[in-house]
């Protein structure tokens, strides 16, 4: 109800003024003593002012103190205090706290960051991702990387137009229990429930999504313009963001600066700089002097001083780099775009050639006297790869009820295994065609030593064998069939896919290409009518992963072994078991060997300053542990024991038929 004359007198006595008291509406339960030195402009509604709010550890009364409110609605039990200029055109939810904020204003028709055109991957444009609050890694990928079809692009753009227009509002929103404390200017920024903004320098044109289950924190010194920050993210430490999306549970800080870049779930971005980056899930850069530019990457880790070059000083900064999932760049790695690095590869040193090795996954690409060299499949033998594979799902920090990005975990997937099959074929072809007097050949812009063809091809072969036979044996183990024909039936593929061998990585989600094309066809035909429906379709595809994976296994197995799994005889199954044993033991032994190197004599270098050899060893063991105490080494031993047990169980199982 509008304020009564007696209420106006009471408020006036408490230093309050109004442009027009008839447009000030107070809740019946509003405690007038808790509205002091407040100026009302336009229509302002104020809810109950009961209760206290804790600010900096001090319990302070709810209410409105020393503030100008223009065209706002204030929910129940809100504390607003000491606002520099004004809070204008905002709807403030119950339980919110806004204190010591320079200004908080929204303009009519603002989109709060939605519609921001982020020029990812190609700094000169062409792979623009338009932001909107419910953006996912998958719909961003469609925008950036599926530019081959003008019809698809046009139709999908219309769906995004609807999202952008849907975000357009006459007023801004601070949702329930958000806390905005000691901040500078906020202009056209929506703040989600339970978000905490603390000492922010400047926020303009953005949306901060948040959830009670996982509040978002934007902290000290942050300057952000044209952005969306998703639930559970932490952006603090003077981060500078312009035209940026920060995904759920990501951490940004320590003066990291990003421009025209998007980073999806669980990114960790500190110290360095990103320009025109499409960062799928788990993009990590922790160190100073690191420039990630014009790149697509995911499950990526940048060493200090990593530097990418996209300019070439010809037609401008138009060159791009693609680092397939799981790539790492070592300290001071330099990469010259165009670049396409195969999955789970490691780049060491400076590379002045254009690397194009998508079919050589799990490789080490290193600098040598003669230029850039590759050791294909080398990372398959690394304990670091095992550790990465285990840490990613454990470090999925998302706690919001909606997980926006669909993420396929696991290292050995149809996508990676098919790449290994391709890599094995590449090495076999090179081996067949390279004369023995030739020490080195060039492939994809890098040198490969002839001597590596055979053994590196063997690593891929072991990886393929372990995966395919292992998956078939998994199925046999899982069936409770009492006869071999029943086992064979359980191994039959559902045959839903026409080409189950061809997979792709859509912003962290692995799926058969034909499923992606079906989504695209349904977008173009108008069957999928909104971005939400597109996301739902991707979610359905993600849910079908196991079925699609099995179709892949069946198709690839048939190519490798001459018959599909359901056609296996029991004797053939025993041969498959033997192949699995050899491959699994072979790879496991190499990884275990690599883990033990972490404790060999080289690892002791720099330990035990001024000590005897015995003391030096004790110093090392006290700090680093030993092969007998290290958790990773122990886990590898347990896995080896489990493998032995599994093999025995499988032999026993097969003997029953």
């Amino acid at each position: 109800m509008s304020v009564s004359q007696s209420q106006i007198e009471r408020l006036t006595a408490q230093g309050c003024t109004a442009q027009d008291w008839s447009t000030v509406v107070l809740d019946a339960t509003t405690d007038l003593s808790r509205i002091q030195r407040t100026h009302f402009l336009g229509t302002v509604r104020v809810g109950s002012t009961a209760g206290d709010a804790t600010v900096d550890g001090v319990s302070l009364p709810c209410g409105i103190y020393d503030a100008t409110l223009a065209d706002c609605s204030v929910g129940a039990n809100v504390r607003i205090a000491r606002i520099g200029s004004a809070i204008a055109r905002y709807d403030i939810g119950d339980g919110a706290v806004i204190q010591d904020v320079a200004a908080m204003t929204a303009e009519a028709g603002a989109t709060f960051g939605a519609g921001t055109e982020v020029e990812t991957v190609n700094e000169a444009g062409g792979r623009v991702v338009r932001l909107y609050p419910t953006l996912s890694a998958q719909t961003a990928y469609l925008q950036a990387f599926r530019r081959h079809s003008a019809g698809l692009h046009r139709t999908f753009a219309r769906l995004i137009d609807a999202e952008v227009n849907g975000a357009r509002r006459e007023r801004g929103t601070v949702e329930a229990h958000a806390r905005i404390l000691h901040c500078g200017k906020l202009c056209n920024v929506n703040v989600g429930p339970h978000a905490v903004l603390r000492g922010v320098a400047l926020l303009a044109h953005g949306t901060i999504l948040s959830a009670a289950e996982h509040p978002t924190l934007v902290g000290e010194g942050v300057q952000a313009r044209n952005f969306v920050i998703a639930e559970g993210a932490t952006v603090t430490g003077g981060a500078l963001l312009e035209k940026v999306y920060i995904g759920q549970a990501s951490k940004v800080g320590k003066q990291f600066s990003a421009e025209n870049s998007i980073f999806f779930a669980n990114a960790e971005l500190f110290h360095g700089e990103a320009v025109a980056v499409f960062g799928g899930p788990y993009a990590v850069t922790h160190h100073k002097g690191t420039l990630l530019i014009a790149a697509g990457l995911s499950f990526y880790n940048a060493g200090s001083g990593t530097n990418m070059s996209n300019h070439m000083y010809k037609l401008g900064p138009v060159h791009q780099g693609l680092f397939e999932r799981g790539t790492k760049t070592g300290s001071f790695a330099y990469v010259l775009h165009e670049t396409h690095v195969g999955a789970f590869s490691v780049i060491i040193g400076k590379h002045y050639t254009n690397i194009n090795t998508p079919d050589l996954p799990f490789s080490y690409i290193h600098e040598s006297e003669s230029g850039s060299e590759i050791v294909p499949g080398m990372n398959l033998l690394s304990v670091g790869l095992v550790r990465d594979g285990e840490k990613w799902p454990k470090r999925d920090g998302r706690r919001a009820p909606v997980r926006r990005d669909l993420i396929s975990f696991g290292i050995f997937t149809p996508y990676a295994v098919e790449k290994m099959r391709a890599g094995r074929a590449v090495l076999q072809r090179l081996q067949d065609t390279t004369p023995k007097d030739k020490a080195v050949v060039h492939y994809g812009g890098v040198a490969i030593k002839r001597l590596l063809f055979k053994n590196c091809g063997k690593y891929y072969a072991q990886g393929v064998t372990r995966y395919l036979t292992g998956r078939v044996l998994d199925r046999i183990e899982a069936t409770r069939a009492s006869s071999w024909p029943a086992v064979q039936e359980a191994l039959r593929a559902s045959a839903v896919l026409r080409d189950p061998l061809v997979w792709t990585d859509v912003g962290g989600l692995l799926l058969p290409v034909e499923r992606l094309r079906a989504v695209e066809a349904d977008i173009e035909s108008g069957t999928l009518k909104s971005v939400a429906e597109v996301d739902q379709r991707f979610a359905a595809i993600a849910a079908a992963y196991e079925q699609d994976e099995w179709e892949y296994v069946c198709a690839a197995f048939a190519q490798e072994y001459g018959a599909a799994p359901h056609a296996l005889t029991r004797d053939r199954a025993l041969e498959i078991l033997a192949a699995y044993e050899t491959a699994a033991n072979g790879l496991h032994a190499k990884v275990a060997d690599d883990s033990r190197k972490e404790f060999d004599a080289f690892a002791h270098v720099s330990f035990g300053l001024g000590m005897t050899d015995e003391e030096r060893m004790a110093d090392f063991t006290a700090v680093r542990g030993s092969v007998d105490t290290n958790a990773v080494v122990q886990k590898l031993r347990q896995e080896q024991d489990a493998l032995v047990g599994r093999l025995a169980h499988l032999r026993e199982l097969l003997a029953k038929f």
Partner: protein, 80 residues
């Protein structure tokens, strides 16, 4: 094949793969600590020995060999 011939050919392979003077390759030389062979080079060394002697080496066992002399012994068992 005589052990001395195996040793001579091992030295040749090691010097070529690691790009070092054959005179630096001594029987007691440790591949990692003395000759600078990292894990990438060890793959090349194994392939080089296999090619030189037309043998198949068990890579996991071969990786346990630490010295030039050890490599000679290991290969001697395979070429008998």
């Amino acid at each position: 094949m005589e052990r001395s011939e195996i040793a001579q050919r091992v030295t040749k392979v090691v010097a070529r793969v690691l790009a070092i003077d054959p005179a630096e390759v001594l029987p007691a030389s440790n591949f990692v600590f003395d000759l600078g062979a990292d894990s990438m080079k060890s793959i090349e060394l194994i392939a080089g020995f296999e090619e030189e002697f037309s043998i198949e080496m068990d890579e996991d066992r071969a990786r346990e060999v630490q010295t030039v002399d050890g490599a000679v012994d290991f290969i001697a068992q395979l070429v008998q």
